[in-house]
């Protein structure tokens, strides 16, 4: 291993730029003559738009234009789309209501877009927006997930019973039969709380129109600029792809919320032409709370069947998923194909049947958020398994081990073919890390101080690098899920890698360069990673679902292999040897059995000057591209153990220890991977203890600021003990599985299992706030007093 190659904990190249304030985010971009957009948003969760009077507002100082849904319709601008088709049990397609970028006829959630004001300054746009008179016909709102299908209030005329689809997966007959034969059945009702993503950088967009070229440029906070271009072109119809450039510059976190194509960027690029000026919009934090796609929001009943020895026989799951007021870009895939196929967890469960009803409500759209479906599945599985172990009087670690998948490949009853793993190894290492044997003593010590101590397990599995394209296409995806890369070697041997992946905190500029440095034997600083611009990068599917390592880097490997192959041809001419005798190692092309060699930089120069070969026999230049389509998902897995202490007097939960042992396959940069694990756990702990988006019955978001929506802070968290086991992924050339979401997937059940262990009962929901834990602890104390 070299100091900068694969496996080296290289410091992040991009951090100097970020921590010295030199990052260039969308809001840092200011085009000459730029105007500002302000969105008038609905204060009502559900209302008809009887009249929008913009006359007085249009006459306000600085106003360049005010546009509504009628203008969108007149310009034949298409609605926002949901790019994954789900079919109900009866074969009918999901019921997608219209989703115009500016409301037409009706608003469906607080924050829905009523009109846009474009003015010289943001303050002028805001002033004018206040002068718009909207006559709302306020309607009752439906917000509750569990009862939405029974509500008399209908969000979309196209969707009776507010139902988007009734979907299912698995063998119902086999599952029901297994339950009948079971000796023990564990049942659990579970709520997976709604979350607001809250990336540090709020969303932003600058739309620009070049009248001479007839071409648009959109700068936007996107995790996948090529997908944004495709949707804006092919579906929304802003401009053909060759006349629309999408640039996603530095992006300050996304967690999924910046995958989607939203109303605001659509409107900014559309109105740039209408007002003949570049138009900027930057979300404020309140807008982010109201209109960024939220995450999770499931209500589930789950059952696990076991035989007399505690062997799992079957699982039955019924989930209602709240998708909000409109179908966001990938919303339909999250509670279906990103959820139910993970319900087998790390366990050998012969039969699984899962039903999912997706509902509309008068709330912000819900879509993928760090983990996307997999945290919801893992929470169901790991809570069920923990409770089953308790009911059977079995040690939770031993009960898990008894049921782990041991032979690979393993076909689950819910689509997935697990390729490799060693779940017992991760569990063993995690038990050692947390000192499981010492826990009973620590619990007694806590009890002496009047505290309740608990320990909770989470043995999670996730599926990353969702693929292959043909398979996801057959499941309803509107896109392929490959990745592309181009490796451009310059004549002096420096290298640009153009990747369709997009870094918004993951450190691609470092890890991708490490790969190139490792493969080509060139210094790290000679490698630049280019991403986030559809005019520079050939194509791409972007970054989400922990796919950049497994899929994005595999594409780079393919292109690097081509570069080396071409380099060998060049070297053969220069070194006057047969191509078959040329080796490439440590940055040098050598002739087998001789000391003749050509270093990589010289080879690049020779490729470009083309003096040593005939340009008809071998093309000059050294630049290669590749598309990589995976053959399978990857399956990162691991075991997290949380140990915590509850003060029953205040309800405060302190996480005392956290052991995380993950199998991410091969790792490029362990420091960055560890950082991803830390961040993921923090978000998972946030969901379990602190975060929860709440709408009241009128559809007002009562947690619309950091005063009421509690984000995890450093002092809410312990120092994590992070370890790894490695079973290399067999389906990609680097053996990578992916690490970006693991912490957020693993953490919530680990925390809740530890809390319920401490409490001695299961009666607690997320977020387990001090108030909720205090109330639950009173139950524990009175039971203890009775004993």
């Amino acid at each position: 291993m070299s100091a900068t190659g694969i496996g080296a904990p290289v410091r992040r190249k991009e951090d100097h730029r970020f921590i010295t304030g030199q990052g260039r985010y969308t809001d840092d971009i200011n085009r000459p003559d730029q105007a500002h957009a302000y969105f008038l948003r609905s204060p009502h969760a559900h209302a008809t738009l009887k009249k929008i009077d913009t006359k007085a507002a249009a006459a306000m100082p600085g106003v360049l234009g005010i546009f509504t849904g009628d203008d969108l319709a007149a310009d034949k601008v298409g609605g926002l789309i949901c790019g994954w088709m789900i079919h109900s049990k009866d074969g009918s397609p999901m019921k997608a209501g219209p989703h115009p970028a500016l409301a037409q006829g009706k608003v469906r959630y607080v924050g829905d877009h009523v009109a846009v004001v474009v003015a010289e300054t943001l303050a002028q746009a805001r002033d004018a927006a206040e002068a718009i008179v909207v006559d709302y016909g306020v309607l009752p709102a439906v917000t509750d997930t569990a009862s939405a299908a029974k509500s008399k209030t209908q969000v979309h005329a196209e969707a009776p019973d507010n139902t988007v689809f009734n979907w299912h997966l698995g063998d119902k007959g086999a599952t029901d039969a297994a339950f009948k034969a079971a000796k023990h059945v564990t049942k659990l009702d579970i709520v997976n709380n709604r979350l607001v993503p809250n990336p540090m950088e709020p969303r932003a967009a600058v739309g620009d129109y070049d009248q001479g070229e007839g071409a648009f440029t959109l700068y936007t906070t996107s995790q996948n600029p090529h997908v944004a271009r495709l949707v804006l072109s092919a579906f929304i119809g802003i401009a053909p792809e060759n006349k629309l450039r999408v640039i996603a510059p530095d992006v300050g976190g996304g967690f999924g919320s910046k995958i989607f194509i939203y109303a605001e960027e659509t409107v900014c690029v559309w109105v740039a032409k209408k007002v003949g000026r570049p138009v900027k919009w930057t979300s404020d934090r309140t807008e982010a709370f109201l209109s960024d796609a939220h995450g999770r929001d499931h209500v589930t009943h789950a059952e696990l069947a076991m035989d007399g020895e505690g062997k799992m026989l079957a699982m039955r799951v019924k989930t209602t998923a709240n998708l909000g007021a409109y179908l966001s870009t990938f919303s339909s895939s999250v509670p279906t194909y990103l959820y139910a196929p993970l319900l087998s967890g790390q366990y050998d469960i012969p039969a699984i049947y899962c039903e999912v009803d997706a509902v509309y409500t008068n709330t912000a759209p819900v879509d993928a958020y760090r983990g996307a479906g997999r945290p919801e599945a893992t929470f169901v599985v790991e809570r069920l398994v923990e409770v089953a172990a308790r009911e059977l009087g079995k040690d939770p670690a031993k009960f898990r081990t008894q049921n782990f998948v041991r032979k690979f490949p393993h076909q689950t009853p819910v689509i997935m073919m697990y390729d490799t793993g060693n779940y017992s190894a991760s569990l063993k290492k995690a038990l050692e890390t947390i000192d499981y044997k010492g826990f009973p003593k620590r619990r007694r010590d806590s009890a002496r101080n009047g505290k309740l101590r608990g320990i909770g397990f989470s043995a999670y599995i996730e599926a990353c690098g969702i693929a292959p394209s043909a398979a996801v296409g057959s499941l309803g995806a509107g896109v392929g899920l490959w990745e592309s890369a181009e490796v451009r070697v310059n004549p002096i041997g420096t290298i640009e890698v153009l990747t369709g992946s997009h870094s918004h905190g993951q450190g691609h500029e470092t890890t991708f360069a490490q790969l190139v440095s490792d493969r080509l034997g060139v210094p790290l600083e000679n490698v630049s990673i280019v991403h986030g611009d559809t005019d520079k990068v050939q194509m791409g599917m972007g970054t989400y679902g922990s796919r950049s390592g497994a899929v994005g880097m595999s594409a780079i490997v393919k292109a690097l292999d081509k570069v080396i192959a071409k380099g060998k041809k060049v070297a053969a001419y220069v070194l006057e040897a047969d191509e078959a005798d040329i080796d490439f190692k440590d940055g040098n092309f050598t002739v087998k059995g001789t000391d003749r060699k050509l270093d990589f930089g010289s080879c690049a120069l020779q490729a470009y000057v083309a003096h040593k070969f005939n340009g008809q026999d071998l093309e000059p230049g050294l630049k290669e591209g590749a598309f990589y389509d995976p053959t399978n998902f990857t399956f990162p897995a691991g075991v997290h153990i949380c140990e915590l202490e509850i003060d029953p007097d205040t309800g405060v939960t302190r996480i005392e220890r956290w052991a995380a042992v993950d199998d991410f396959g091969n790792v490029i940069n362990p420091m960055i991977v560890e950082g991803q694990v830390h961040g993921g756990i923090a978000q998972g702990v946030g969901q379990a203890l602190l975060e929860g988006a709440r709408y009241n019955a009128d559809g007002q978001l009562v947690t619309a600021s950091f005063m009421d929506y509690c984000m995890p802070r450093a002092d809410d968290l312990p120092s994590f003990e992070v370890g790894m086991t490695v079973t290399p992924c067999p389906s990609n050339p680097l053996g990578i599985k992916g690490c970006g979401e693991a912490g957020a997937i693993a953490a919530p059940p680990a925390v809740i299992n530890a809390i319920t262990d401490a409490l001695g009962h299961e009666d607690i929901a997320m977020p387990a706030t001090p108030q909720a834990v205090w109330r639950a602890a009173q139950k524990t104390l009175s039971r203890m007093a009775a004993e």
Binding site: T650, T703, F706, M707, D708, C710, T769, R775
Partner: protein
């Protein structure tokens, strides 16, 4: 934010005259409540009179049996002050736990007291310590000063000059933070001056800061946390929200009161 004019007088007298002259003028005494509210367009003063350059409103001094703190003294200055730490360590402790470092270096005691946020920390200290609020017009005992949620006895154009705290023989403050905002969900300040005991509660009252007479009586019998063990504050008159309902808050008043006494008696 709407447009407004900005003024920065050098003395309290100049500030008072600006306040009287300018239409819809508001005093800026740190701005950690006012400025966010203005940014959200929920407040639109015509003029801001920034007190940050009024040297006569700043400073900390021990004057006989009293500790006197200028209205424009920041929380960070109170927290770090040797005079405060020596005279009323619980007050320094309270100041050191207000908000975050940004807030503590901008926010002032006068601004906090004048705003009388029901979740602010200082009102509990003023009430429990029997402080006097000195304005440019008069002296107001804390008992009379705080009159309701965000309401005080201050008249139009009246400016707080300083707050005078009688030095207590024992004092302690404990707060339970709102997990999200980290304001006081419940904060209890306990003070003992001779035979007088005061227990003041912030964060929990429907009408803002209040005293807990039953706890005071119990502590008068014996100034120890144990004296409060059998006491329960009623949930009546206690506010509730999504973070804590009245029952939980009422319970926390007891817990925080015991912690405050433990701190006051050096047993924390």
């Amino acid at each position: 934010m709407y447009a407004f004019t900005y003024h920065r007088p050098a003395t309290a007298r100049q500030a008072a005259s600006l306040l009287a002259k300018k239409e819809d003028a508001k005093l800026l005494a740190g701005g950690h409540t006012l400025l966010p509210t203005m940014k959200q367009r929920l407040a639109s003063p015509g003029a801001l009179v920034d007190l940050s350059s009024c040297a006569d409103l700043k400073g900390i001094a021990r004057k006989g049996r009293n500790l006197v703190i200028g209205a424009m003294t920041t929380h960070a200055e109170v927290a770090a002050s040797p005079e405060v730490q020596e005279a009323i360590p619980a007050l320094a402790y309270l100041a050191s736990h207000i908000g975050d470092p940004h807030v503590r270096h901008r926010g002032t005691i006068g601004g906090s007291v004048a705003n009388n946020d029901p979740a602010a920390d200082y009102p509990a200290a003023l009430l429990a310590l029997g402080a006097t609020v000195v304005t440019n017009k008069r002296k107001l005992p804390a008992e009379e000063f705080f009159s309701g949620l965000y309401e005080t006895a201050l008249d139009e154009g009246e400016i707080i000059v300083k707050v005078s705290f009688p030095v207590a023989s024992k004092a302690g403050y404990a707060k339970f933070r709102n997990p999200a905002s980290r304001y006081a969900l419940v904060g209890v300040f306990v003070a003992k001056r001779g035979s007088e005991i005061a227990v003041a509660v912030t964060g929990a009252g429907e009408g803002g800061v209040f005293r807990w007479p039953e706890a005071e009586a119990a502590l008068k019998a014996r100034f120890a946390g144990k004296s409060l063990d059998s006491l329960k504050h009623t949930a009546k008159g206690i506010n509730g929200d999504i973070h804590a309902d009245a029952e939980y808050r009422a319970h926390l008043i007891g817990v925080m009161a015991r912690q405050a006494v433990a701190q006051a008696t050096g047993k924390a």
